[in-house]
Amino acid sequence: MIALVRMSAGLIVWAVAFCVLYALHGLGCARGWATIGLGATSAHRAVLIAAWLLCIGTAIGVAVWRWPARTGTLVERTGWRLALVGVAATAITGLPIVTLPACL
């Protein structure tokens, strides 16, 4: 079972990242974080960007961790591929944070 969890680690990070970003977005809108200025942006967007970067960093960390597995068994190689998928998916699904209005 641990082998299967390792294989899915990148995607698990994506799933957690997705939940965290969506939850922080909802919480920020409900609590009015978007109206609190923080430099050139709002506190809401700053929190979301920080969380997004942290998630991408974690996904990259998983990919680095799975790097030696890229020449292993099929299950291990698949884990390495899925770790890369996790990095790309976390980066892409979070892109609206820097491109769209938060609470409109």
Binding site: A3, L11, F18, H25, G26, T78, V85, P96, L100, P101
Partner: protein, 822 residues
């Protein structure tokens, strides 16, 4: 002679009893698989007739064929039947029938659970059909949105029929998910490493995992809506702090993965049939596994794309739009791998291949309109129009029905042992293919011209008349195609000549047996050294029939199969499976009593049936195990293995792990709902919070500690420790009951109190269950079932007890916290 004797002995052990006893008591996976398939096809036929009635109504403008009340029931039942009573059970049936045969096992991990799932499906589905015949079918759409489905707007029992009937059927789906996952992970032929598994098993493993995490939100949503309708607890009522959007979140948290839950098994069938038709091996096995896993995960990030017009902020829509477009990539990887397989082989245009071509055309078109609908501005224009109806039919018929028709023709010789009689299947294909595209391609255009979904009629002035008429004609052409398919299958079953073994010259293990398959599948189990065992050893079937593989003898009347290491496929232990039993149908019957009394509004009688389920559950578990250690027994060439009762990490333990994962998902969905309402719903914070208290939380914490410590101290002679743990669970139970009854405001007063009461109910239920299991374990020590090396049941009880303790502590915190910080 040895092969014949072995066949006779194993048949005696594994056979289904003759007559009605066999019908009611069989637990054999082949029987259950066939029943699910036939049942699902029967429901498909009913759903198809409803679709024809819908198209008859829409064929002409201002139609008076059926009134709006009946029409609402027609489209609601059509959608509900096709999603819950056809698609899921059909693949469950195929999985139950095929998986053990493809994996080199003699049955699924929990044969009685398969049978329970079948009876729950049959009884639950029958509730819906009887309600339809009585004119009280659900009529609020297959997704049953409140407030339309609430008591105010649907005062009759129509919505209750959906909520209770579908939840009953979902018990079957959860049974299947646990069964499929454990069977694939543990009950494989020795040597079948994960990377040697048939792709069909990989796809079903992902599907089972998705069901474990996808169905609980819907089950929770249905429970909450039924409680709201029955007792007025306002989860979805905005005036009292609820929100109809909570239902949409819970429903689509299930509903979108559901699309992939339906597609993935079909993709597994495609990956199995296509290389055989192309006379080659599958291309990019690893990429297919990776794409399938990516799809399984990413599909959980799409649910809000069904809610793009509900007023959710743009940024959140962007998250889901991005995930919705992203999911097209792993889907495309699979399509390209299949095309590459065709390219690298020598395809034969046999009948299954014809249906696979239909799958490619229709599914790819559906996928492309899916990408269009993933883009928010387009979706906001096309939302709730016939364009969406067309899209979903292209995806589901293309992604499931066409592959299942291919699978039917591919595996029918296995079921029947016979050849096709006439060439009706080709004609059926063209009628279905042309009829389908005529019906639904034109609906894209009707939708783009602005025709909404679910309208019972329209004016000629709208300009939709000819498109609708042609769509209706197409639907009847398609229906003729399905009728021809049915006749073709019937002719094969009753008139076909007997077929030789492995008619397609395939490489997977299900063809390494006589057809139709014997009740025990394999006289001895194979040693696997590659992905296509029959290509590696064409005479494998004969070798196994002689008993020259693993477990090649019948002993003690036991139903034996092999459990292996999850990853390496090394032999681990021998599993003794239960025989035919009354328990599955009796349990399903008592569950039916619960759901029917709830439907009748007899709320005070209904819990008695749950007690009945508990009694039968006790009996069910009691019939497992032995009172003596057998030690390692001969299992194969020079290898002796322990029985499952004496081995760690048994199928029972893993089944509990998956059941608890599903239960924890339901709990997490409930906490999500609580947080969602607190954050988003109007009229929060609530007018009255829970009373501040330390007594009950302290009692709950003490109970949890006692339960955790006690169950850990319990060994083969640990009756005192088990009593201590049970005492802890009872303390937890009491603490939560006191919190909910004495400290929480009335659940009917506000969604806050209603949600809090359900949080408490979840923990109370699990504490009661854990206390019962601890008492069971104590009784099993006294009876001698637990002792010596037979400690597996204690490990299982520890899992449930720990989960109950954890859920109790979390629930207590969630309940008490608002009182402390207010």
């Amino acid at each position: 002679m040895k092969a014949l004797k072995l066949h006779h002995d194993l048949t005696t052990i594994w056979r289904t009893e003759p007559g009605w006893r066999g019908v009611l008591r069989s637990v054999n996976h082949s029987d259950m698989g066939k029943r699910f398939i036939v049942g699902a096809f029967a429901f498909f036929a009913i759903g198809g007739v409803l679709a024809m009635l819908i198209r008859a109504q829409l064929a002409t403008p201002d139609s008076a064929f059926v009134g709006p009340e009946v029409y609402n029931q027609l489209f609601t039942m059509h959608g509900s039947i096709m999603m819950f009573l056809f698609a899921i059970p059909m693949f469950e049936g195929l999985a139950l029938y095929l998986l053990p045969k493809m994996l080199g096992a003699r049955d699924m991990a929990y044969p009685r659970l398969s049978a329970l799932g079948w009876w729950c499906y049959l009884f639950g589905g029958s509730i819906l059909i009887v309600a339809m015949l009585a004119g009280v079918a659900p009529d609020a759409g297959w997704f049953l949105y409140p407030p339309l489905s609430g008591k105010q707007w649907t005062p009759g029992i129509n919505s209750d029929v959906w909520l209770l009937g579908i939840t009953f059927v979902e018990i079957s789906a959860m049974c299947a998910a646990i069964e499929i996952a454990v069977s694939i992970l543990r009950l494989r032929a020795p040597g079948m490493r994960l990377d040697r598994m048939p792709l069909f098993a990989w796809y079903l493993l992902a599907t089972a995992a998705m069901m474990l995490f996808g169905f609980p939100p819907l089950i929770l949503g249905s429970i909450l809506l039924e409680i709201e309708r029955a007792f007025g607890w306002p989860f979805y009522t905005p005036a009292l702090g609820g929100s109809p959007l909570l239902w949409q979140h819970l429903f689509w948290l299930f509903g979108h993965p559901e699309v992939y839950i339906i597609f993935l098994p079909a993709a597994g069938a495609v990956s199995t049939i296509l290389p055989v038709m192309a006379r080659t091996r599958i291309l990019a096995y690893g990429a297919l596994v990776a794409a399938m896993m990516a799809l399984a995960f990413l599909s959980f990030g799409l649910w809000v794309h069904h809610m793009f017009t509900t007023g959710i902020p743009h940024m959140a829509l962007g998250f889901f739009s991005a995930a919705s477009t992203l999911v097209a990539i792993p889907t495309a990887v699979q399509v390209f791998a299949w095309i590459g397989t065709l390219w690298s082989g020598r395809p034969q245009m046999k009948l299954p291949m014809l249906y696979l071509i239909g799958f490619f055309v229709v599914f790819v078109l559906g996928g492309l309109t899916g990408v269009m609908l993933a883009v928010v501005p387009f979706d906001q224009q096309a939302h709730d129009t016939a364009f969406v109806t067309a899209h979903l039919h292209y995806v589901l018929v293309g992604g499931f029905v066409f592959p299942m028709l291919a699978a039917a023709y591919y595996w029918l010789p296995h079921f029947t042992g016979r050849e096709r009689v006439m060439q009706l299947g080709e004609t059926a294909f063209w009628l279905i293919f042309i009829g389908f595209n005529m019906t639904f391609f034109l609906m894209h255009l009707t939708g783009l011209l602005g025709m909404p979904r679910r309208v019972d009629t329209y004016s000629d002035a709208m300009g939709w008349t000819w498109l609708n008429l042609l769509s209706s004609v197409g639907s009847f052409v398609m229906a003729f195609g399905f009728a021809l398919f049915t006749i073709d299958v019937g002719l094969q079953i009753w008139l076909g000549r007997h077929h030789r073994r492995n008619p397609w010259q395939a490489g997977t293990l299900e063809w390494a047996m006589p057809i139709p398959a014997p009740a025990y599948n394999f006289a001895s189990l194979p040693q696997v050294a590659g992905r296509d065992p029959l290509y590696d050893q064409p005479d494998l079937g004969v070798v196994l029939a002689r008993g020259q593989g693993w477990l090649g003898a019948a002993r003690h009347g036991w139903r034996e199969t092999m459990a292996v290491d999850m990853v390496t496929g090394e032999p681990d232990h021998i599993v003794i499976l239960p025989g035919n039993s009354w328990l599955p149908i009796a349990t399903a019957g008592v569950l039916a009593g619960f759901f029917l009394t709830m439907l009748a509004g007899l709320y005070w009688i209904a819990p008695l049936f749950l007690v009945g389920v508990g009694v039968l559950g006790w009996r069910w578990a009691w019939t497992n195990g032995t009172r003596v250690d057998h030690g390692p027994l001969p299992a194969g060439p020079g290898v002796a293995l322990p029985l499952s009762t004496e081995a760690p990490g048994t199928t029972g333990w893993w089944g509990s792990v998956f059941a608890l994962a599903a239960s924890a998902t339901l709990f997490a969905s409930l906490l999500f709902g609580y947080a969602f309402l607190w954050t988003v719903a109007p009229d929060w914070p609530p007018p009255q919070l829970i009373a501040r208290t330390l007594l009950e939380p302290a009692l709950a914490l003490l109970g949890a500690v006692l339960a955790i410590v006690g169950v850990r101290r319990a060994g083969p002679d640990g009756r005192t420790a088990l009593a201590l743990a049970a005492g802890g669970q009872i303390a937890l139970f009491l603490a939560l009951v006191l919190l909910a009854v004495l400290r929480l405001p009335s659940p009917a007063s506000h969604a806050y109190a209603a949600t809090g009461a359900v949080v408490a109910a979840y923990a109370i239920f699990h504490a009661a269950l854990a206390a019962t299991m601890l008492a069971f374990a104590r009784a099993r020590i006294a009876s001698g079932h637990i002792g010596g090396a037979r400690l597996g049941e204690l490990r299982i009880v520890r899992l449930w007890s720990d989960h109950a303790a954890g859920a109790g502590v979390v629930s207590t915190l969630v309940l008490a916290l608002p009182g402390w910080i207010a």
